[in-house]
């Protein structure tokens, strides 16, 4: 008993015991699938057997025009979501933190509720709203505005618009919460001293809020890059499956799903996953280095 107690009270051992559950689940659910994905990407997996094929899956990806479309779509989507989902939530967060807005709790809840709804249900509703038929919600609105009707989910531009609307609807509130928590961490004394120095509201935002929100912004940027590249559910629900006209809604993960799951080509699907991993890691490492996240502290 004493030994047992000593073991757990030992300052050397205890930390490892505490992190063990995380390490185990991390190894089991993340490291292991990653390794097996890498192995599988060099294999051709059929119901009757598994065969090593070297780089064949990757060389096929180079020639696969559908995959290229998927990459392009994911990139466009990611960039546009960055443009929309960082400035606007930041703005909303600042508004929520200011004295300009009444009933803050209500507005916060309004913006956050979409993130709590099931994508399956909201996606289905959005699909019906974007129906090309004249009775679809969006077409009713555009007709009312005198713009005529659109085949929303058939054309590239309108399809992407629909996706972005769903995305903004869903994630604005979440990003806003990140920024609000970032704002809470900013010392109010800084604003007071800025007031004393005669700074305008814009100057306070530009020279106090933005620089001090940088860690939060970098975090949001990092997860948004990955979330944008790995988007799947929104497009899957909007087009009721991984297929869309002219592949306008096909994303990298959508293609992974289509190959790996629908067509049961797990080897090829794994190769798609590896490419996604490499792209997302590369972009984020470059972005983090440029933002100075890995730099040594100067203080």
């Amino acid at each position: 008993m004493n030994k047992f107690k000593k073991f757990f009270y030992s300052q050397k051992v205890a930390p490892y015991v505490f992190v063990l559950p995380f390490i185990l689940s991390f190894a089991f659910f993340w490291i292991y699938p990653l390794c097996s994905t890498i192995t599988m990407s060099f294999q051709d997996i059929t119901p009757t057997g598994t065969e090593w094929v070297g780089l064949k899956n990757f060389s096929k990806l180079l020639k696969d025009t559908v995959f290229h479309t998927a990459i392009l779509n994911s990139f466009e989507y990611m960039i546009l979501t960055l443009v929309l989902l960082i400035p606007f939530p930041m703005l909303f967060a600042v508004l929520m933190d200011s004295r300009l807005v009444k009933a803050k709790g209500f507005w916060k809840a309004c913006l956050y509720v979409p993130a709590l709804t099931s994508v399956v249900i909201s996606g289905t509703l959005f699909r019906l709203m974007f129906s090309e038929y004249a009775t679809g919600q969006m077409n009713v609105i555009t007709t009312f505005l005198g713009l005529g009707t659109f085949k929303w989910l058939k054309m590239k531009a309108t399809g992407l618009t629909a996706l972005l609307i769903v995305c903004c609807w869903r994630w604005t509130g979440v990003n806003m919460l990140y920024f609000i928590s970032g704002l809470k961490a900013i010392d109010t004394a800084l604003y007071e001293s800025a007031d004393i120095d005669g700074a305008t509201a814009w100057q306070k935002f530009r020279y106090v809020t933005i620089p001090l929100l940088k860690p939060t912004t970098i975090y949001v940027l990092t997860i948004s890059v990955y979330a944008g590249l790995s988007m799947f559910m929104e497009s899957y629900m909007l087009w009721a499956g991984p297929d869309s006209p002219n592949n306008i809604g096909l994303t990298i993960v959508g293609y992974l799903y289509k190959r790996g799951i629908t067509k049961n080509q797990l080897g090829y699907g794994s190769a798609v996953g590896i490419v996604l991993l490499v792209i997302a890691l590369a972009i984020n490492i470059v972005q983090l280095v440029l933002n100075g996240t890995f730099k040594k502290e100067e203080d």
Partner: protein, 489 residues
Amino acid sequence: MKKKVLATLLSVAMVSSVLAGCGGSGDSASTESGSEAAETTDAAEETADDAAAEEGTEEAAAEEEIPTSTFGDPNGTHLEMWTFVELHGQHYGNMVEKWNEENPDRTIEITCTTYPYADMHTKLLTSLTAGTGAPDICDVEIGQFPNVVAGESTWLVPMNDYAAPYLETMVKARMDVYAGADGNYYGIPYHVGAFVMYYNVAAMSEAMGLSQDEVIAKIDSVVTWDDYAALGQEYVDAIATEGKYWTSVDTAGVDWQWIAMAEYGDDWTGGFDEPANVQLDSVKQMLTMEQNWVNSGLAQVSPDGHVDLEAGFQNILDHNIVSFPKAMWYMSRFTNYMPEESGNWYIAKCPVFEAGQPCSVGVGGTGTVVTQQSANIELAAEFLAWAKMSEEGEQLIWDNLGFDVCNTALWNDDAFAHDDSNQYNAFFINYPYDVLYSIKDDIGKIYSVAISPTINEQFCNVTLNDILENGMDVDEALQAAQDVVDLEQ
């Protein structure tokens, strides 16, 4: 120091979320929520509250109700069955009661679970790959069949022996489409899916100022696609209203290409031995004709891509189109979704390019399989063959599901085909089985092989949209499709 901690945290968050995303490919059961799960991870690292909320979302999604029904004798052998159409499950429910009456010593209890289409096929493939978790009996849609039959006898039970007593009167082509590359039959069909032409006689007679009989006489005299287009022009000229078309062409379905191939005896899949070739003259001819119709205002592009969708039903109800070719199983869409059209529609043979060509093809379908994972293979297979191929089974398939059954002996059986209490016989102007019987020897088949999903996907996603929506040159679009197909073979 703070920054360093942040940097570490960020890297971990980033890597772990990437890993979670990729993990999805290996662990297929949860892939659909894979991306969501990745985001859950991110949220969890920021605030615990967010994480809890996200998990709540997923639980809510998982709790969606899956209809499950159990039929038969609770003391009998238990069989598990999956389908993606609830009515199919009910068919087995009815059949199991009959089976138990006839076989009191080998009674069955069957649980039928209805999953959404894509989910069911994904679940089935995953459980077959994993070697555990598959049901005894499962419906497989024909478009998905090649993925499942790839497992041949490792995954599925060859049905040859069990189907043998019924084969004589079955349409052989429909058995062949559910065969594996080894030549064994793995799936049992519900229907022929004979391709026919549906005409809205009431709307035509009103617009053209003719009696119904005169319109029917005109329809009956249509032999070629040129005749069909001419009659359509007559209708469009008579009605002369914007938004009213003769027919609608599909961008999300390849039925029109199938009928063209069947008429010329072509098959773009090349069957089990030849390489696939989509640049066939028959396909080109059909696409060019469809493109011309769209340009001339004779046809519109089907809303949402084909007529078997809500938008398609609405389009038919609004009389925006008054004729379209579709398989005979579309009859049930009329009774289920467009009951107010009762008495208006007439079924006729499909037109051909050159007189004398065969005028139909078996389209769509569901093959039901027995998996090797079943603990009662013998019983499951015997029951399945009986439930779908025996006369009792076929009678119920026609009465409840409204399918053109594969047992040709019944097609001209008066009691079966001309039963006026049958809702489909009552709905249409003519008896559907009379049309079916008249094209008995004209029903072609298109193979469903490993390359089929690729061809269908390319056509429905890209090629047909390019040609019919974007006005692309037919040869150019087909070349692009062939390039994609070639990458896979």
